[in-house]
Amino acid sequence: MRAEVLVPFRAAGFSPRHHAWSGVATLALVILAWQGGSATGLIPDLFLPSPLAVARALWRLTLSGELRTNLLASVLRLAVGWTLGTMIGISVGIAVGIFTLARSPVLALVSALFPIPKIALVPLFIIWFGIGEGSKFATLAIGVFFPTVISTYSGIDNVQRNLVMMGQSFNLSTWSIVRKIMLPGALPSVLAGFRITISVAIILLVAAEMIGADSGIGAFILAAGNLYRTDDLIAGVVILSLLGLSLSAILTRIERAAFSWR
């Protein structure tokens, strides 16, 4: 017999925890290092302007009202285009999730059209919907539409069949089953889809504004690049990042409120 040995604890790890402060600290550190690189001349100014220069540019653009005008134009396009694509996408997704008649035809179309980079279609949309807002809305809406259809119908597919049967056993109408069982059950998947479609929408927004617009953050970034005003260019990029961050924060709020039951 051997002497007693202590049984070691072997189940450590594989459970990363979340610390908000370490995330913020990382960002701050990167910006600080960047500023240091710029101040010491390690990073040439034309190559990449210093954080301070970007901050100054942001301040200047805020005072001149340029930021406001462009941001407003972009947010409007984002709101209209995304909402349009989302509403149509959810409706079509529900139909695919419920009706045999819609399922195969729509899924065939979705599979065929989803992989097309929508940016390639922007010139076509300009011909169809005009150089004005119409083509921007259409680009965003179509980009948002396909992922929304997919997240909605797969959410509905994953609603447990026994819950649907329960609804039928209580003689609920088809519409009640959709509204009270299918949709709430599909909501987590639909909201997860929102995360994807929001970033898709921002990408398409910038692309569409670069191809044919004289206002908006995308147009502003393009103009700054053409003039080698890299501080303005980075300022525009920072705005896009902040836009994405705030939308994602709003979504997190909505998710928390909607899924208190989990």
Partner: protein
């Protein structure tokens, strides 16, 4: 709850196939108004299938079900189920789940609230009205299941192994409660179980099914009133011995069977 159900059920030559899987073979059975019938048989013999056929949740390959007798005027859903896996909506509170079967049928909001309150008290859930299913134990969840079912004042109640997902202690406790609830409500009831103890506790008649394809092997009536049954009652012990000797061979043979659907 008063007076009880005046609805009878009649299975006429019901057979069912799932593809090439022959599940039920020519089953005919009459159930009298207010009678509680337990369906017992080895796992996989088609008990759930038969129960779903009873209440119109499954179309049998052959045969049909007849319902006789006008349901009472306050009956909101004549054929009502209690499910083995509870089938509660996780995003609704206990009160919200009970409300589901009343919505659209009981327009008066006050009456609905009153009915929900009555059911909560009846099933010992009064303190849990605003809890979500996730917060409840299995026993509490199934109490919600029966409260939801009784709330609609059903003419016929179908229960598919309502206690099978629960641990042994909870099952014993809940069996007593269910036996009393069912006896008092006097609703025409079909109760599926693979547990002889449950069948003996709350059924007027016990229908024994053979292994797949399910046929009626025997019907055993138990005259002792449900309210008067006690553990270890000589009549019940005799009946249990008889039933067990019938089921044992079937169960062990069924256990060795391959099931292509599983």
């Amino acid at each position: 709850m008063s007076s009880g159900s005046s609805t009878s059920l009649k299975l006429e030559h019901v057979s069912h196939h799932f593809g090439s899987n022959f599940v039920l073979d020519d089953i005919s059975l009459d159930i009298a108004p207010g009678e509680v019938v337990a369906l017992v048989g080895p796992s996989g013999c088609g008990k759930s299938t038969l129960l779903n056929i009873f209440g119109g949740l499954l179309q049998p390959t052959k045969g049909h079900v007849l319902m006789h007798g006008e349901p009472r005027s306050d009956c909101l859903n004549p054929l009502t189920y209690v499910f083995q896996d509870f089938a509660l909506l996780p995003w609704r509170t206990v009160a919200g789940n009970i409300s589901l079967g009343l919505e659209g049928k009981m327009r008066d909001e006050d009456a609905r609230r009153e009915r929900i309150g009555e059911m909560l008290r009846l099933t010992g859930l009064a303190d849990f009205a605003n809890a979500y299913p996730k917060q409840l134990s299995g026993g509490m969840r199934q109490r919600v299941g029966i409260a939801r079912a009784l709330a609609v004042r059903p003419a016929c109640l179908f229960m598919d192994e309502p206690l099978s997902a629960l641990d042994a202690q909870t099952r014993t406790l809940l069996l007593e409660e269910f036996a009393m609830l069912i006896a008092r409500a006097a609703i025409t009831t079909v109760y599926v179980t693979h547990n002889l103890n449950e069948a003996l506790r709350l059924a007027h008649r016990i229908v024994v099914l053979s292994r797949r394809p399910g046929r009626i092997k025997a019907i055993v009536g138990i005259d002792l009133p449900i309210e008067a049954r006690r553990e270890g009652d000589p009549d019940l012990v005799v009946a249990e011995k008889r039933l067990w000797s019938m089921i044992r061979d079937e169960a062990s043979a069924a256990d060795r069977e391959l099931d292509d659907a599983r």
